[in-house]
């Protein structure tokens, strides 16, 4: 974890980092959308049980990289991924690996709250049900309750679990999506600008929630808000034009960035 500041060569990184607490290790990841080279030689180690923020201007590749971690990019036909990404030392692009199981281990929360147009209960219970996590209705009830509690939504919705998830407010919907993601007890939660569609109060709640969740999960968050990155994340990675320019402890990076582009971005001179 004391590595970084600059991207390291793969050999060095693997030998140095994998045995330590890094949860996700990416080496020389290149992503192409048809002819477009969207992500260039990204290598990064992401620690477990902490929050890592990806920042950078629009179109810099941070969301693309995030979607590589649960192979969501597979759904885009023109998208090709090269390089290796491992979770717990297991290559997730291994053809033998079941992508559905991978996605169950790597939950995702999207930019716009997207609850299923079903009841609140069903929204949370869907994941556990398809993965056969519960033997009985009571089990399922228990999973739903604990997930909603972890997402600090339980108190607000416990009396109306059968109401439609889309009837909630934007912030509640997003917390419902988080509850839905943690219901299948993933190791990693990916958040793609989870607060960009929310007002400051809802944002504050979500950030508080992220902070709590980071005790149990590896959280990777893409954000446009420097303040948010500074507030919630332990480590930060700065992307620019498909390159990972800088990565390190958030405190250090915000106070003393080594790359001048990082400095320019953080201080708001471009982006």
């Amino acid at each position: 974890m004391d590595m970084s500041q600059q991207t390291l060569t793969p050999e060095k990184a693997v030998t140095q980092q994998v045995p330590t607490s890094a949860k996700v290790v990416a080496r020389d990841v290149n992503v192409y959308y048809g002819e477009k080279h969207a992500l260039k030689d990204v290598s990064i180690n992401i620690p477990d049980k902490s929050v890592t923020a990806f920042i950078g201007p629009s179109g810099c590749g941070k969301s693309t990289f995030l979607r590589c971690i649960n192979r969501m990019n597979d759904t885009i036909p023109s998208c090709r991924v090269k390089g290796t990404i491992t979770i717990d030392a297991q290559d997730i692009y291994d053809p033998a690996l079941d992508v559905v199981q991978l996605r169950a281990r790597v939950g995702m929360v999207f930019q716009k709250p997207n609850p299923f147009p079903k009841s609140i209960y069903e929204n949370v219970a869907y994941g556990p049900r398809i993965h056969g996590m519960s033997r009985s209705k009571a089990d399922l009830d228990q999973i739903v309750e604990s997930s909603l509690r972890k997402a600090s939504l339980w108190e607000e919705v416990k009396n109306r679990l059968q109401e439609s998830g889309t009837a909630l407010s934007g912030g509640q919907q997003q917390r419902l999506c988080i509850a839905r993601a943690i219901a299948v007890s993933p190791d990693i939660i990916l958040m793609d600008e989870p607060c960009s569609a929310l007002d400051p109060i809802a944002t504050a709640k979500i950030e508080e929630l992220i902070d709590e969740l980071s005790q149990n999960f590896c959280i990777i968050i893409v954000t446009h808000s420097m303040q948010q990155a500074a507030r919630v994340s332990k480590r930060t990675a700065f992307f620019h034009l498909g390159l990972l320019l800088e990565e390190g402890e958030t405190n250090e990076m915000f106070t003393n960035p080594t790359n001048e582009k990082t400095q320019a971005y953080i201080t708001g001179r471009f982006g």
Binding site: P77, V100, R103, G107, M108, F110, G127, A183
Partner: protein
């Protein structure tokens, strides 16, 4: 006024106060008002046409839902069915009911002796009239040998006469004392006053007008000359002379033919149709027998006029006389036409119903729905969600879109060639009809379903994938249910299309005259639109009403 414009660029401000600006605003308002007016006008015209159509259909169709019967006391002879076989419904069914109803009719209007009169009387009843009696006896054999009160169905012409009388009837009392020469056959009636002067004058005036017209024609022809013309002129002059003889002497009797309004005399409980007429005596044929040949006092007898000439209506004077007599006796009974909904097609309009076509339609649509809903939806799901986009899927897509535009008769030909000739499926069967209509409807359902699937926000699928659902689970658990309303709309439009389709069914023989109500998918059947097409083609006026009635049922079925 940004720095891009440069320092010496003209200052462009939004102009809102000048006359040009006000004109622009007025023009915009006028354009909006015009557009609104066009819209309203279009709406009004459409409403008018639809309203006229619906009004016409309902006006024509409503009478099809009622029917007239003669409620009569029918004496069932004891020997109609032998006592030994009365327990057997088949024996009761097999009995000959025609003489029974004939005798009942003759009893209702006694004294009709001529064979022609008798035949006319019997033909007022539908050929299906005895069915009610038969069913009654089958249900209760103990009625045999007793007198039963049953409604006997009238024939289509008689029924139509009561629905929309083809002539109006005018009566006026006689002034003189009338003396009939007999009670049946051809009789002469003398009156003590000139009761028929008005009629005679009218006829003679008509003759005079005709003579005048002929005179003009003759004058015109003579200017040409030539042999054939001369001959024609001679003929015309002869005709004029004949007419002149008639209108010059008031005492010459006039002949009433079928082209003139019918004149009748109601006297001594009978009715006489006049054939020859002078102002004080008339000769005529007895339509309803007179009770006696006694003198009738002034006011006790009446001159009756059927204002529509006999040649201009379907029912003869004799039939009108019978029907009016039945009406006076209160035997005519109007009731809801249950036969229309419970029987199949028939050559007799009063017996024809839509049940066969209705059941045929339902069976056909059942086959169509069972085939094309799953196939169509699954094809759409596969093409939209799973198929890789390449040249083959592009080709399939283009072909599906093209199929939607293929004329329906072509599908009929395909059905004929493939299902009937190759697979040897039965002709006229709802099974084949359903198969053909399924082919016809599939493109509609696939296109509509694909559009509905495309309209589901991708975020829902991503959310499902995000919690670890497989692609198939995401589609079937989340995308498909959300697309269902759109898919259902497409399916309903497709089924409504199929329900109204006629052309392809003609090709596979569903256009045949089928009396039986189908009970299985392989029975010969027809469908409602084809039935409407068949009926609209028939010459009987009653079928015109049936057509409109069937259209009403068809439309209401489509609404559902």
């Amino acid at each position: 006024m940004t720095d891009i414009a440069g320092a010496d660029a003209p200052v462009l401000r939004l102009d809102m106060t000048s006359d040009a600006a006000k004109r622009r605003i007025r023009k915009r308002y006028a354009a909006e008002a015009r557009f609104k007016a066009y819209g309203l006008a279009a709406l009004a015209v459409t409403t008018l046409f639809v309203g006229a159509l619906v009004f016409d259909i309902i006006r024509n169709g409503i009478p099809a839902f009622t029917q007239h019967s003669l409620t009569m006391d029918v004496a069932v002879p004891d020997d109609l069915v032998p006592t030994a076989t009365r327990s057997d419904p088949l024996a009761i069914r097999g009995a000959d009911y025609f003489p029974v109803t004939r005798d009942a009719l003759k009893a209702a209007i006694p004294g009709i002796e001529s064979r022609r009169g008798e035949r006319t009387l019997v033909r007022l009843l539908s050929t299906g009239a005895p069915d009610v009696l038969r069913d009654r006896l089958v249900a209760d054999p103990s009625l045999i040998g007793k007198t039963v009160k049953v409604p006997l169905l009238l024939s289509d012409d008689a029924d139509l006469y009561f629905k929309a009388s083809s002539t109006s009837i005018v009566k006026r009392g006689g002034i003189g004392t009338a003396t009939p020469s007999g009670t049946t056959g051809e009789i002469t009636i003398l009156t003590s006053s000139n009761d028929f002067a008005a009629e005679v004058v009218t006829i003679k005036q008509a003759a005079k007008a005709k003579a005048d017209a002929l005179a003009i024609e003759a004058a015109r022809l003579t200017t040409f000359g030539g042999q054939s013309v001369a001959q024609r002129v001679t003929e015309i002059n002869a005709e004029i002379a004949e007419l002149k003889a008639r209108f010059d002497s008031p005492k010459i009797e006039e002949i009433l033919d079928a082209k003139l309004p019918s004149k009748l005399v109601e006297i001594n409980g009978g009715l006489v149709k006049l054939t020859k007429i002078t102002d004080v005596s008339v000769t005529g044929e007895v339509l309803l027998p007179l009770a006696s040949a006694a003198d009738a006092k002034p006011g006790d007898w009446k001159v009756v006029t059927y204002t529509t000439a006999e040649s201009n209506r379907k029912v003869s004077d004799q039939e009108v006389a019978f029907l009016e007599r039945f009406r006076e006796k209160g035997m005519v009974d109007r009731h809801f036409n249950t036969l229309f909904f419970t029987s199949g097609d028939s050559r007799e309009p009063e017996l024809a119903g839509i049940r066969g076509a209705l059941i045929g339609s339902l069976l056909t649509l059942f086959v169509t729905l069972v085939l094309c809903l799953p196939i169509g939806v699954l094809a759409a799901v596969y093409l939209e969600e799973f198929a890789t986009k390449n040249r083959i899927t592009d080709l399939i897509e283009v072909n599906i879109n093209n199929l939607a535009a293929v004329p329906s008769i072509v599908f009929g030909l395909l059905g004929l060639a493939v299902f009937l000739n190759f697979f040897n499926f039965p002709r006229s069967a709802p099974l084949v009809g359903g198969l053909v209509l399924a082919l016809l409807v599939l493109p509609t359902i696939i296109i509509a379903s694909r559009a509905a699937l495309k309209a589901v926000p991708p975020s829902i699928k991503e959310a499902a994938l995000g919690v670890g659902a497989s692609h198939q689970q995401a589609v079937f658990h989340h995308v498909l249910p959300l697309a269902m309303p759109g898919i259902m709309t497409g399916t309903i439009i497709g089924m409504a299309h199929a329900l109204g389709e006629t052309a392809p069914l003609l090709m596979i023989g569903m256009v045949a005259f089928i009396v039986d109500v189908p009970t299985a998918l392989t029975d010969a059947a027809t469908v409602l639109p084809v039935q409407i097409y068949l009926w609209s083609d028939l010459p009987e006026v009653a079928f015109k009403l049936k057509t409109a009635g069937a259209i009403m049922v068809h439309l209401s079925q489509k609404e559902v």
